[in-house]
Symmetry: C2
Subunit: 331 residues, 2 copies
């Protein structure tokens, strides 16, 4: 017996009525496939991400409005990391019997809000029941002219290393939740409802600024590692430059702990990119335009895969735990 | 402790090495997004489907090779139903701790086999752990020229109603599994490893034959209902024309039960389409070319939503249970 009291088709009909139109989406929810007509000459960028109950979220920590927002944002963040303009999202949800229609409605509301803010539309999906927890899978499609697409492969020695926003907020909130404490509201919001840096990613890509870019989902060091491997370069991070939010500093942890969290904490969903020194002026202009700090935190070096950390010019040890890995020992 | 004994990145690396190349996929697994370059002027068709343990499959009924094949096939079937050529698939899997590396390898093998057979490639995805069962979400991308795309909306009174292959095999196998019996191998295979009718769907679309088309996942009557609603027409089905496999007939159930299963049994993944009488010659040619029977089972009528069933020219009652619905009463 399901508390939703409605069939799959009714859920789809309700959701369909709330979907916005788009010049790119010729046909949205309601046939075997969605039909999209992409702008001529642009590349299609596609990403898919799952959010699984008890792995990526806990129902006693998040409400469904936040969960809907986050489900859209983490996928849009991958599009942002390649400089793409989001176009259409596809949402699959497996729904356990104890979920109420109100919860499901809140979830869709949050999801559609974030789609709307990024000018993407919900164009299709799947709903089914679940005998376990809630499983969510989102696929996001974006487009970009070839010249605006940023991969992980182009970082050069001498390039600056930049991050948007602030680091470590989400990780602190998660750590407090896991130890039974209530995180400060600003930090909790950063964990439960991360913002995808869609506009800044697209602006950077269009301006041809980044030589490599990635979003920080597994922690700065872990995700920087992907750029270093792909670009066959190394990096020096000046940890005293890492951007920390006033809310994170106000927690009163010592600097070592704060920087460690900024280096290894996951789910910031900020953008990490590399750019040559002459791009600094353009980066500053974009940061001003989108009203988001972009901070230079280090420099790309020559030795493939080597990362050094400095604090006030002196070398520091690398944290042993570099970031979140599914299936890693002890997980 | 996870029996896989390897991290997410190692799983991705192994899978990446097994992915085929494609002229459409400029960049597959390994960055934030896949990059696709679609043929100029073609439309993009996208579908997403979940397969959830204990809802869509049971590990004591299927092995992981079959599950991998089915996960690809059910999505390719949606592309086939609109006449699209499959291009790229995205595979997200949530993996519980008790899954072995051998199971996962079999799953990927089955999935990649079916991709290969339809000339589509695996271009991206997501892997994560699960505290519940296995959750699989596949997104399939295909392309078609606008003239080849078939929707559900174009059925006209007087059009013939056609189905590919045979009906009811999968439903019988499922019924036997649910009652503890071992189904005949041919029927079990139809349930565990359905074939997506990719080639025939594309051929029909390219030839401009169908006025409406859908794949039969919820049962002939339920899926025909979607065409009737979308096209605002009715239908008469001649149940003695329903194509039944020799293996299904050999089971020895009486005709009433056989036809009921063919009308309401889910997961046939055959194509159901409508076409004007003058298309019969082209339909026969395509059936011969792809070596798959295409059977006329009825005629589109004028009264919106009305379905009549006949047997040897006499009216028959409509089965009460029209097809599988998630969340329906008692589910």
């Amino acid at each position: 017996m399901n508390r939703l009291g409605q069939g799959e088709f009714e859920i789809i009909e309700q959701l369909k009525a709330r979907c916005e139109s788009s010049p790119v989406v010729r046909l949205g929810i309601g046939d075997d496939c969605a039909i999209l007509q992409l702008p001529p000459g642009e590349l299609l960028l596609t990403t898919t991400d799952m959010l699984i109950e008890s792995i990526h979220f806990r129902r006693d920590w998040t409400d469904f409005l936040s969960l809907g927002r986050k489900s859209a944002a983490v996928n849009l963040s991958d599009l942002a990391a390649m400089g793409a303009l989001p176009r259409a999202l596809f949402l699959a949800v497996a729904i356990p019997a104890d979920l109420t229609a109100a919860d499901l409605d809140l979830f869709f509301t949050g999801f559609l809000e974030v789609c709307h803010a990024s000018k993407a539309v919900l164009a299709g999906g799947d709903t089914c029941s679940s005998k376990g927890g809630v499983s969510i899978c989102v696929t996001a499609l974006g487009t970009a002219p070839e010249t605006a697409v940023v991969r992980r492969t182009g970082a050069h020695p001498g390039d600056g290393i930049y991050v948007t926003g602030t680091l470590g907020d989400s990780a602190l909130a998660l750590q407090w939740l896991m130890t039974g404490r209530t995180p400060p509201p600003e930090l909790l919001k950063r964990h439960l409802e991360p913002t995808a840096r869609v506009e800044v990613g697209r602006r950077l890509g269009t301006a041809g600024v980044p030589t490599a870019m990635i979003d920080i989902s597994d922690g700065l060091l872990a995700d920087l590692g992907h750029i270093l491997t792909a670009s066959r370069v190394g990096a020096c991070i000046e940890i005293d430059r890492l951007p920390l939010s006033p809310a994170l500093r106000a927690v009163g942890d010592d600097d070592h702990l704060l920087y460690d969290r900024a280096l290894t904490g996951g789910e910031d969903y900020e953008l990490l990119f590399t750019a040559p020194p002459e791009a600094q002026g353009e980066i500053d202009r974009i940061a001003t335009d989108v009203d988001l700090p972009i901070t230079r935190v280090g420099t790309i070096s020559e030795t493939c895969g080597e990362v050094t950390l400095t604090h006030a010019g002196s070398l520091c040890p690398i944290p042993q735990h570099k970031g979140y890995k599914h299936f890693s020992a002890g997980a």
